[in-house]
């Protein structure tokens, strides 16, 4: 006979189930990216996932001498997210270094899943961005599955940033490069694999919300903030600042707000805290896009706001029963 304190039933949703749901939610983006970028993207994905899992396994088994934690699927999530954040042309050894930093430095040194302060995949990505800028800014225009004539170029955000520095205006640049919103929605634009198709990411996001894996508030507050703030700037000076829709659909904004900012470990525990967290990310992203030296600021914005999470958790608490 078993004897234990109450409750005697447990929800079937375990950590592994939650993480598997995130993987499932990422599948549309993964499939789309493989279809549009071809086998090169598949290679990046495979290297990234395998090396994340391998690094975690080796560290838990041989450095920490504990039972391996790869069964919780979290390393796989990190691997996919890292891969979706890299250009398809990234050499395999650069991907491996990224995975090593993501899991080895950003996750395991803090004590593994649940203990890390910063999103591991983003730390890996930013590390690569700073260490190997040539590989990390060499983007490819999607050519379809097994396409041979890869054309490389800059992302829309990069093009606009460069153009603005040379004195051109936003509408001119948009017209010159023929950027259209439908292109952005349906994956036909230069950038990292995960940035390519907005629809695929939104489908995954809706799945996560429907399965109650995440609450939508962080994502919505990021998108809302970006839309509102860019609207103000754009209305003030449409020649100098890009419009809200362009900002929402380009760069890693959607991938970041749906999958990276909502990471359990590195986001606030309460809804109130989450909304402040999202506003912070949206605002910082735009500031970097408009005024910073990098064309894209999502990664930095999330990492900066990650560091405020303990503070937000301290400030914003649940509404308690029977207490004002």
């Amino acid at each position: 006979m078993l004897v234990s304190p109450n409750p005697h039933l447990h929800s079937k949703t375990t950590t592994a189930v939650l993480m598997r749901d995130v993987v499932i939610a990422l599948l549309p983006a993964v499939i789309v990216s493989v279809v549009f970028y071809g086998w090169k993207e598949l290679l990046v994905l495979a290297v990234s996932v395998l090396s994340c899992v391998l690094v975690e396994y080796l560290i838990t088994r041989y450095c920490l001498k504990k039972a391996s934690t790869i069964g919780d699927w979290s390393a796989i999530v990190t691997g996919i997210l890292l891969a979706l954040n890299l250009p398809t042309t990234t050499p395999w050894w650069v991907v491996f270094i990224g995975a090593l930093v993501a899991i080895g430095v950003a996750k395991m040194t803090f004590g593994g899943l649940g203990q890390n302060v910063f999103n591991p995949a983003l730390v890996g990505r930013v590390f690569l961005l700073i260490s190997f800028p040539t590989y990390m800014t060499h983007w490819e225009i999607p050519q379809g599955l097994f396409g041979v004539d890869a054309i490389s170029g800059a992302t829309p955000l990069g093009v606009i940033k460069e153009g603005l520095m040379q004195g051109a205006s936003v509408p001119e640049l948009m017209a010159q490069h023929g950027y259209s919103y439908s292109q952005m929605l349906f994956a036909n634009i230069g950038g990292s694999a995960g940035e390519a198709c907005a629809i695929a990411i939104l489908v995954g996001f809706i799945y996560l919300v429907a399965r109650k894996v995440i609450k939508p508030w962080i994502t919505l507050s990021i998108l809302g903030t970006v839309a509102a703030v860019s609207c103000i700037f754009w209305l003030a000076n449409p020649a100098q600042f890009t419009d809200p829709l362009f900002n929402l659909l380009t760069g890693g904004l959607l991938l970041g707000s749906c999958f990276m900012a909502t990471d359990y470990v590195t986001s606030p525990m309460t809804t109130k805290g989450g909304i402040i967290f999202g506003i912070g990310i949206g605002f910082i992203t735009l500031m970097i896009r408009y005024f910073g030296s990098y064309p894209e600021g999502m990664s930095f914005a999330i990492l900066i706001m990650n560091s405020t999470v303990p503070l937000l958790n301290n400030w914003f608490h649940q509404k308690k029963y029977g207490r004002a």
Partner: protein, 324 residues
């Protein structure tokens, strides 16, 4: 060039001096006047800050000791008499030497003695287990085996024996701070006099159930039969709530009770020679026979003198039959 270096050195030194002065002044301004003896006493303490003395730490002990009129209520179990002598010297007090103590685990409910009757499936914590139910054996009083005492010991003196499932005290490390006695929800661990050369005699059971119930739950239980009480010639054993207790102040370490105990609940430790139960039993029987003869003779004499009286020592006859 030279002037730059000179200026740099001058400014840095000036700044250093200024800050040093500020620090000094602030330290002077906010200095807390304290009896200098407190610091001396604290230096004489072991510095473990274990709280075994009943104070929050060594400083709190020192502070209280300096202010107290005598040292009757102050004793550092970790440092023992050595430390207390030093403290007394500093403060100019007299102290009485206390016998060194050691933690004693009063349960011998090993896996073989005390079979499991159910499986505990809650947190591995004696506190949680004790508040839930009587435990996973038939004994509601014995060791729960989750190791709260081991976790409470700051000196590494306790460890769980994987074979018996009971805690083991390392006498060389035990400082008798009493942390384990407070941690144990069943109050099994007792601080006892260490005894001459570590020799001591104790009842290794706290089961308050009646004999048959106790015996059913555990083969090594004290069944409250009272044989030890009758055997003891020093009046050192009391039987209360169906469990015997040996008063270490009165016990003369003759080990007669240990030899007579039907369940082996009485333990003698650190004796140079193993106990020869038969020899001791023979000795006791011889003595009791003589006593009985003397009593009979006395009774006869009394009978001759006055009216007939019930024969004393009836119980002893019965007991001997039990042992036979």
């Amino acid at each position: 060039m030279i002037t730059t270096i000179i200026w740099t050195i001058a400014i840095i030194s000036g700044l250093g001096l200024l800050l040093a002065l500020t620090l000094y002044l602030v330290a002077q301004r906010f200095k807390v006047e304290e009896d200098p003896r407190i610091e001396l006493v604290e230096k004489a303490m072991p510095g473990a800050n274990c709280g075994g003395c009943g104070f929050a730490g060594c400083h709190a002990f020192a502070d209280s000791a300096v202010k107290a009129p005598n040292l009757d209520n102050h004793f550092c179990p970790v440092g023992g008499n050595e430390t207390m002598k030093k403290v007394a010297e500093i403060l100019g007090y007299e102290i009485k030497e206390k016998a060194p103590m050691v933690a004693v685990v009063r349960c011998n409910g090993t896996c073989t003695n005390r079979p499991k009757v159910n499986d505990y499936d809650g947190s591995i914590s004696c506190k949680v287990k004790a508040s839930l139910y009587a435990g996973d054996t038939g004994c509601a009083f014995g060791c729960l085996g989750c190791g709260d005492c081991v976790a409470a010991c700051q000196f590494g003196a306790l460890s769980m024996d994987p074979e018996t499932g009971l805690p083991v005290v390392d006498e060389s490390k035990c400082t008798a701070c009493g942390a384990c006695t407070k941690a144990c929800p069943k109050a099994i661990i007792e601080l006892r006099k260490k005894g001459p050369r570590g020799m001591r005699e104790y009842v290794s059971c706290v089961n308050k159930d009646k004999g048959p119930a106790a015996k059913k739950a555990c083969a090594a239980a004290c069944i409250g039969c009272g044989i030890c009480v009758k055997t003891c010639t020093h009046g050192a054993i009391v039987l209360e709530n169906n469990v015997a207790y040996i008063d270490p102040e009165k016990c003369k370490l003759c080990r007669e009770c240990e030899a007579m105990c039907p369940t082996g609940a009485i333990h003698g430790v650190n004796f140079p020679k193993p106990l020869d139960k038969d020899a001791v039993k023979a000795r006791i029987q011889e003595r009791q026979k003589k006593a009985r003869e003397a009593a009979a003779a006395a009774a006869e004499a009394a009978k001759a003198a006055t009216a007939p009286q019930p024969v004393e020592g009836n119980n002893e006859v019965k007991k001997e039959e039990n042992n036979g």
